[in-house]
Symmetry: C2
Subunit: 501 residues, 2 copies
């Protein structure tokens, strides 16, 4: 409305100006063109008052989408519980200052709430910072928990590729002082189990360590002050070729060509235990204390992963950097890979579906006395997985039921609403999942059609004769078989016929 | 920080003033007192930069609270599914204009997001308006769905009584053109089932109809323009005595004493079918078309509720009004009642735990062509129920497990980390819920203690001898019984011993 008022004002101003200045004809033509453009820009705003949509970057879930979503959640929750995790929940918003200084460059993507008096609030950006706040606030030094909830980022949405502004994260984290790499290995095992279970196709989990990266930067001659910003350039290697990343390092970031070239050699490396051994012998890297620590732990990690039998899908990759500031040790990211069978090229990555790492300093940032609680965690990115699952279901002929209804209570004649209400009430009270049409006198055909449409397997039909005989006619929708069942046996009969075989 | 700077400035000003004015000693004393008061008000703000808390009116859920919460959710979801509902989800925020004009006086409690460029957004206030928006947007004219999600109200929190600014609503709604009162009766049946199932103590479901209220206002001589505001006065009768509500009607709302007195007579009435019959004969009310319609439907509703066998806990109550603007027909509210056994007084209400009603106009407000989709729904208020359940668990000796772990993989000797990792990996891969301590060489006592603390029923102990013999020692924590189980039978043995009997 403000825009419309401004346009009207502009129009009036223009007319006045034209009159006052006794403008030249082409001046007039210009003004008219300007006004027409303005009118076009206003477009529908003037006409319809209201746009019927969800906010940018968000979506509703239909019942069918929810059915798929719940399958994915179930697989993930089952895995988290298998690993003995408790569950917590935190508010959707936090004090603004709780989020301040935790996300580096990404902080600009945080949604703030309007100042309506009282506290300044922001929507959570991830589940990790609220978890660290929760630990510090409750002085918890030892917990293994999962948390599945929506987080919010004012990012550029790409909804067809599963990138939203409101999206679920499924996080599993282990907090506490433990012996090295045992919890870290479990997080990777969990990512491996979930991605295998969901059958999304082939995947690869890239692993690195912030200490190895920092040591590498040091031996390559990157000044201390540029570690984080060069790290964020390296992080772009999954989307940009090395040449472009190198240009960014030299130009925007002001790194020397020699340092960049040395980094270029390291970040091409990926492999397994062998590569770790090789780098432990690397004349430069092995002299750096941080890198040595990181490589030592990486070796231990790969030994544990070997015991878990999952090294086949895990790659130690020096180009993996991860964007977030709070990581301090192991970092990892799982990507789905498309095998290009016709070529002998390397697998093509089609996007990250899980990630995580160690963040030993975050809880200490919240603790008044700075007490540290070491943490490591894995976060499953459900939206991309969900997109893939949805496409798979779409492609298959699978018909997804969106309810669990076992029986429809129906009638073949008129004036039996009361009898249907009595029967359905009995069934509900006995725990049977039952529906009826909300019509006084529905046609039998419509009732049967409803079962076909929604996948209800049984129909319990009441009629004059059945009422006299003390029975209910039970019809199996799939086979059209009909049997008279004594009313007192109906609940048992429905349970038997609908129990999973 | 702004407050601190202002105080410093004020202090400097005061000192300057004192110097300039060569003030009297009691002037000085006053200024000093003022400054001290200011300092006290500032309190800790000057010192610590950061407050470790959740936003006002919100809370975290600990694992123990989550365990209770999931029980409540399970009972509710089971009931919703028993009635054949699908499930949907919508974003946590909506376009601001989607919520505008739907909540009457309560609109001031809506949380707005900060204008960061782009759309103006608000956090959802309930699940009903997003549901109506969803129906209009997707042109759905027929659905039975549930939705369980958090909603947001900048209300005055009373957290000990279960009133929060972020809280769950569990909504079940039926949308579509159906024969009268059949879906309405089912919503009441659902409220009845859930409150019975949760065993929260005695409850009462009050029922009324907006049309009866409006008809009553008309025959009492309330001017049309005052219907909504007088309705919101009546809505306060559950918290205020009639005399106070009457004063509000006469003073603030400007109603005539005669009209108020007539209302006063009606709103005292509550009962069942008999009262409905009586009011259908009421010389004034029976002349009002709206009231007649409402009473006719109320009669039908009670006939259906009689078939469901639940009229014992349902009261037709003319004082029930409900705050929200969008109701158009039947309204209801469920309250828990404390039976004061020693007195012969009426049951005392301890608060609303569910509510709902019919809103036939809401979807039409969103539809570009104003097409109506009649709706009726019930909303379960989980927070108060959760508070009561929590107190009940607290009062009982029940020990709540927060994980489902079946077995702890332990070792009795040192240097068996690798063997533990191998065994636990086998168990995970076989679907067993298993944990281990994240120590290289944990003491057996600590491992057993962990099982006691967390309720893990079994311990699988690996030792040198067991490894040689190809067995694992399985210990039952409760009985301390120990048996050697062949490694290849371990999974089966654990499953058998932990399957629910």
């Amino acid at each position: 409305m403000a825009a419309a008022a401004a346009a009207v004002q502009a129009q009036a101003d223009a007319v006045r100006r034209l009159k006052q200045e006794q403008a030249e004809p082409d001046e007039i033509a210009k003004e008219v063109a300007k006004l027409l453009e303005m009118k076009a820009q206003l477009g529908d705003e003037g006409k319809s008052k209201f746009v019927l949509k969800t906010p940018k970057g968000t979506r509703d879930y239909s019942p069918k989408q929810m059915a798929i979503r719940e399958r994915v959640f179930n697989a993930i929750i089952t895995c988290f519980k298998r690993h003995g995790a408790e569950v917590i929940d935190t508010p959707v918003f936090e004090l603004k200052e709780t989020l301040t200084g935790k996300y580096g460059e990404d902080s600009k993507l945080i949604y703030d709430l309007k100042d309506q008096g009282g506290e300044l609030l922001s929507l959570r950006y991830d589940l990790t910072v609220p978890f660290a706040r929760y630990l510090a606030m409750n002085k918890i030094t030892n917990i293994k928990r999962y948390h599945i909830a929506k987080v919010y980022r004012r990012d550029n949405p790409a909804m067809t590729r599963g990138r939203y502004r409101e999206f679920y994260q499924c996080d599993f984290d282990i907090a506490g002082h433990f012996d090295p790499m045992i919890p870290d290995a479990e997080c990777l095992k969990i990512a491996h189990e979930i991605l295998s279970e969901l059958q999304l196709g082939d995947f690869l989990i890239k692993v690195n360590d912030r200490r190895i990266l920092d040591g590498m930067f040091a031996v390559c001659g990157v000044p201390d002050s540029k570690f984080r910003t060069i790290c964020s350039s390296v992080d772009k290697l999954d989307k940009m070729p090395w040449e472009d990343v190198r240009s960014e390092m030299l130009g925007e970031k002001g790194l020397s060509p020699e340092a960049a070239n040395r980094i270029g050699e390291y970040v091409q490396l990926h492999g397994g235990l062998e590569l770790i051994e090789q780098l432990l012998q690397d004349p430069k890297l092995s002299q750096n204390q941080l890198a040595k620590e990181g490589l030592g732990d990486m070796k231990l990690l790969f030994e544990y992963l070997t015991l878990f039998g999952i090294t086949g899908k895990i790659s130690f990759d020096l180009s993996l950097a991860r964007g977030l500031d709070y990581y301090t040790g192991v970092i990892f990211e799982a990507v789905l890979v498309q095998q290009e069978n016709n070529h002998e090229e390397e697998p093509v990555s089609v996007g990250s579906v899980a990630g995580g790492g160690r963040y030993d300093g975050l809880v200490g940032m919240f603790d008044p006395k700075g007490r540290r609680v070491p943490c490591v965690g894995v976060s499953i990115g459900i939206e991309r997985i969900f997109s893939i699952m949805e496409q798979k279901v779409e492609a298959s002929a699978e018909k997804i039921r969106t309810t669990e209804t076992q029986v429809l209570v129906a009638s073949a004649q008129k004036k039996l609403l009361e009898e249907r209400l009595k029967l359905i009430s009995e069934l509900w009270d006995a725990g049977i999942k039952a529906e009826m049409l909300y019509k006084k006198n529905p046609k039998l055909l419509n009732q049967l059609q409803y079962c076909e449409d929604t996948g209800i397997p049984l129909v319990a039909i009441v009629g004059e004769q059945e009422l006299k005989d003390g029975v209910v006619k039970l019809r199996v929708v799939a086979t059209r078989e009909e049997v008279d069942v004594r009313r007192e046996s109906l609940v048992e009969e429905i349970k038997t016929r609908t129990s999973p075989s």
